[in-house]
Structure formats: structure tokens, C-alpha cells
């Protein structure tokens, strides 16, 4: 039996790249979906609002793990056999889209009513109002909670290990299987996650303080 050594540690660090890649995929996909959902949530059309609310309630009421299983095993049986990375990316996108949509809805709604009214008076149409007046201000408010949510995304990518995608948590299990030193191995894994997440947490808090003062 091999002891836990620097090669194992290097293997874990290299696997962390896949954690980062999966996080980026989930964030990019979630951002697009979240934007659509946030706009749907504040839309003038009742149907769009209902659809967005329904989707968000559905996803926020289901564990991410079940979404992952549905994407991986479920779609596999229906006929679209997905690679673990694709299934994980899809499930994480659906998941983070719902949360980002809800976060950004709050940001859009926290732009003062007077801004809408003023831009109405200037004769801007709905699209122009969003692009030139509302969204730039909402984006400023949205930065701290969005960075904070990125921590959740990074941590949640660990669930991709369960459907066999070799990222940091799965690499930890593999190393543990050959060294059988679970405490040491998983503390190392946790430490690497911490190194990835802690700067984001600190940045989120810092931005919150900074942007709050400016308001």
C-alpha cells in the first residue's frame, strides 16, 4: 500500500483544474439562463412571469443531486447518452440559472421606481430603458451576491464526482482508494476547495462594503 505523497497531492491539484472548468461552464450557462429568468420574472407578461416563477420554484425545491441523476441516467435512457462532464454541466447550469435568476430579479427590482419613470419621460422604449438605464444600475448591485453565489457553484461541482466525473472530490476518492488515509486525503481536498472559494467569499464581502458606501 502506498503512502500519501507529493504525487498524490499534485494529482489532486491537477484535478482541481476540472473543478474550475466545470464551475466556469456552470457559471456561464447559469448566467445566460439566469438573465432570461430574471427578465421573465419582472416581465409585463403574466405568462412569462408564471413560467419563470414555476421554473425557479421547481429547481429550488429539488436537490441538485437529483437534477444530476435526471440529466445523467435519465437522459441516457431516453436516448441521449451524455458524457459525465456534459450531464454535470447541464445540471449545474439548470441549477445555478434558477438561483442567479432569483438573485438578479431582486437586483433589477431594487433599482428605484423613479428611474423607470424618468426614463419613461425621456421617451425611451422598454428595451432602451433596460439597456441604458436599469440594467447598468442593477449590475452594480448584483456584483457582490453574484460573486458570493460563485462559491456555491464551486462547492456544488463536487457532486459531479457522484456521476463519475473526475474532478477534485472524485480525485480525492481515487487517491483514498489507493492510500487508505481518508482523513489526510479529504482534509487536503477540503483545503484545495477552501483555497478556491475563500478569495471569492472575501471579494464578495469587500465588494459589498465598497458598493454600499458608494450608494
Amino acid at each position: 500500500m502506498t503512502q500519501f505523497n507529493s504525487f498524490h497531492l499534485l494529482y489532486l491539484v491537477e484535478a482541481a483544474r476540472w473543478t474550475i472548468l466545470l464551475s466556469l461552464i456552470a457559471f456561464a450557462g447559469g448566467a445566460v439562463l439566469g438573465m432570461v429568468l430574471a427578465l421573465g420574472r419582472v416581465s409585463q407578461w403574466r405568462a412569462a412571469r408564471a413560467l419563470a416563477v414555476g421554473y425557479i420554484q421547481l429547481v429550488q425545491g429539488t436537490p441538485l443531486l437529483i437534477l444530476l441523476f435526471l440529466a445523467y441516467f435519465g437522459l441516457g435512457i431516453v436516448g441521449a447518452k451524455l458524457e459525465p462532464v456534459v450531464a454535470a454541466g447541464l445540471a449545474l447550469t439548470l441549477y445555478s440559472g434558477a438561483f442567479l435568476g432569483e438573485i438578479w430579479r431582486g437586483c433589477i427590482q431594487s433599482v428605484p421606481r423613479t428611474q423607470w419613470e424618468a426614463s419613461d419621460c425621456l421617451g425611451l422604449d422598454r428595451l432602451q430603458q433596460y439597456v441604458w438605464v436599469i440594467l447598468p444600475q442593477a449590475a452594480r448591485i448584483a456584483v457582490p451576491p453574484t460573486v458570493g453565489f460563485m462559491v456555491q457553484i464551486v462547492k456544488n461541482t463536487s457532486l459531479a464526482s457522484i456521476i463519475g466525473f473526475i474532478e477534485l472530490a472524485r480525485a480525492g476518492q481515487i487517491v483514498n482508494n489507493s492510500t487508505f488515509q481518508p482523513f489526510l486525503v479529504f482534509v487536503c481536498v477540503a483545503a484545495i476547495y477552501f483555497v478556491l472559494c475563500y478569495p471569492l467569499s472575501v471579494a464578495s464581502r469587500h465588494l459589498e462594503r465598497k458598493l454600499h458606501v458608494a450608494r
Binding site: G61, T62, I66, I77, V78, A169, G172, P182, V189, A190
Partner: protein, 227 residues
Amino acid sequence: MSYQFDFSFLADKWPAFVDGALLTIRLTVVSILLGFALGTACAVARVYGHPLLRRLVGAYVEVIRNTPLLVQIFIVYFGIATIGLKLDAETSAVIALVINVGAYTTEIMRAGIESIPRTQIEAADCLGLRRLQVILHIVLLPAMERVYPALSSQFVLLMLASSITSQISAEELTAIANVVQSDTYRSFEVYIVVAIVYLLLSLLYRVGFWLVGLALFVRRRRLGTAL
């Protein structure tokens, strides 16, 4: 696409799903109660404690909030076993969930405690209340009332996250789903059913927390105003 949906496994497997859901409820209710106690104690220590204690609690919160629950569960389940203490899956699951939700509760309750105006505490001091009385009646209950929405949605998230404990073979809802799907090969249907059960559970928890809130916050119930 010529896939035929087949939910016939429900006819003889439904008791297993009920058992799984009941275990999920048991695990999470115990974890929420213990985690709330831990988090509240930590929040009090974080605000009023010795500077060293404050830093210690701060470190606990940061470490837990910046690492995945899955890895925390592995550390508790596999890690503690290597020290020689053999815990069964359910106990390990509860320990990991308590440690996890305790950290989030600490942050939420800390925000609540810090939102209590100093003057309230000074007024209570003037009335001759003891330190413990001040913390319990003047600080904690109003603080909890303020952060109750955040607290209850964190607990619902914990209930959903408890699905991860299936990975250390705690026989809760998700673990049952995994067993049934490998028996029947009906994975899509099985996970759809389980997703619906989780949706119902989160609805149940929200209603439950609303009722608990009504029972707990007498002031709000009588006046109907925000604090």
C-alpha cells in the same frame, strides 16, 4: 424517440419511498434542531465572546462555508473511522449536517443579533435583567424574528442537501431511489418521482416553518407588523 414511460414500479415500491422520505425527515429535523442550537451558541460567542473565541468561531464559519458538504461528510464518515471511532452512516450524516448548518446559522443569527439596537440592551440593563436574561429575551428572540425567513430557507436548503448523505449509504430518500433504479432500470421515472417527493417535502417544511414562526413570535402574531 420511442421511449415508453413506465411508472408501474410504484405499485410495489412505494413503501420504500415513504420509508426513505421519513428517514430524510428524521435526519434533517434532528440536524436542524442541533445545528440551530450550535449556530446560536456560536453566534452569541461570535458577538459577545472573548476575542480568541470570536476568532475561533469565525474560522469555523469560514472553513465550513468554503468547503463542499460532500467532502465534509467524507471527512466525518471515513476520517473519524480511521481514528478508531466507528460511527454508523446515519450518525455520521447527522454530525456532518449539524456542523454544516451550524456554520450557516451562526452567520445568519450573528446578523440578527447585530441588528438589535444597543439602546434595547441598555434599557434591559436599567430594568435590572441579568446578562443571560438580556441575551435570551431582549437579544435572541427578536434577532431570530428578524432573520427567520433567511433561517428557514437555509433549513430547507439543508433538507435538500441531505440527499448527499446517500453517498455514505444513509438509507434516506435518494439512497432508496438509487436502489430502486438499479432494481428496475427505470432511472428517469424513479428520479422524477423522487424529485416530486422532494418538492412536496420542501413545501411541507416551508409550511412547517411558517407554523413554528406563528407559535414562536407572539408579538408578530398579535400585532402583525414587521419588527
